[in-house]
Amino acid sequence: MAEKNSPEITIFYCINSFKQPEEPLLEGCNIKYIKMPCSSMTKDVYLLRAFEAGADAVLVLACPEENCRYAEGGKRARKRIQWVRAILDQIGMDGQKRLFIYNTAAAGEKAVKGIIKDILSGLKHIKESP
């Protein structure tokens, strides 16, 4: 496997729950942002393709489940996360350590930064992404 300088994180975010920052969020990792009009647009295949494209971990940012302006977005996103985690486990890529969902109303950058730091420290315990 290729040597990597910094870990790759892909963030799928609902535009109602997060505003993409102008400056890099965190030193020492590459973050790719993909915006969605609602977290219900989280599709299994998009999450898997993010890993195919080289992501070490994927984070989905969604509104709190009771506050989705389209009613069910957060609930649907959570189900997709569970499903794809199971697929990752079957492949032998630890789903619990690679795929995450965070429900937040107007997530501050600070909170998301904290989550990413936790994700990165979790990643240290497993092999690099294929």
């Binding site: 299994d44 295949v45 079957q90 492949i91 032998g92 890529m93 294929p130």
Partner: protein, 222 residues
């Protein structure tokens, strides 16, 4: 509709192992409805297989295609080009679709990616239930529209058995006792007389028990 569930990924990886050039073929009818083999499921399967191969440092060339129905030649022939370019086809259709493909493409291995289970319906969001076992001699009129051949775990013609408790079948607390339901329904329809006489043993000759069946409609053969 016919329902099925995808085989576990590890099993599929074992099945496709000998092949370097794979077509994953979905079906847009029954298996799409039960989330086993439609276009979306084909895309996820392809991605998962690629990731698995990448992790193991192995190579595979995968193409994805979904046709309307894999049980009809009219649609099967749309896949001819892609199939011809492949070492094998991983079909996510039901067992009928896999075999229809195999009949058409005799020189290409057609591999099943789905475990076909039953003829049934979608009761509610995400829940599918078995309703019909194709016995070939339908007696639903006698039983108030509830099939004891399929939905009674013991296929009783004169049920229920002694294991029926609180309207549930002895095999599983989540399974309704079909006979409790039949009795309720016939009572509701005022047709309890249907159960007064002893219903004779079923003729199994018209079912799979009599051998694999064939339907011939000469009126539609030119």
């Amino acid at each position: 509709m016919i329902t099925g569930e995808q085989k576990p990924l590890q099993e599929i990886l074992g099945i496709i192992r000998p092949y370097k050039n794979l077509l994953i073929l979905g079906c847009g009818t029954c298996v799409k409805t039960c989330f086993a083999g439609g276009e979306d499921e084909v895309a996820v399967m392809a991605s998962a297989v690629r990731l698995a191969y990448k992790k193991d440092g192995r190579k595979i060339d995968i193409r994805e295609l979904t046709i309307e129905r894999q049980c009809e030649n009219e649609f099967i022939q749309e896949s001819a080009g892609e199939a011809a370019r492949s070492d094998a086809v991983l079909s996510l259709a039901c067992g009928a679709g896999v075999q229809a493909m195999a009949k058409r493409f005799k020189d290409i291995p057609i591999l099943p990616g789905v475990n076909t289970t039953f003829i049934g319906i979608q009761e509610t969001e995400g829940i599918f239930t078995e309703e019909c076992s194709g016995c070939g001699d339908c007696e639903l009129a006698v039983f108030g529209g509830i099939c004891p051949v399929t939905r009674c775990a013991k296929r009783l013609m004169n049920g229920p058995c002694g294991g029926s408790q609180d309207g549930k079948c002895e095999i599983d607390p989540g399974t309704d006792c079909a006979w409790a339901q039949i009795i309720d329904r016939l009572a509701r329809l005022g047709q309890m007389d249907n159960l007064k006489k002893i219903i004779p043993p079923k003729n199994w000759n018209t079912s799979l028990s009599g051998g694999p069946r064939k339907l011939v409609r000469e009126d539609h053969m030119i």
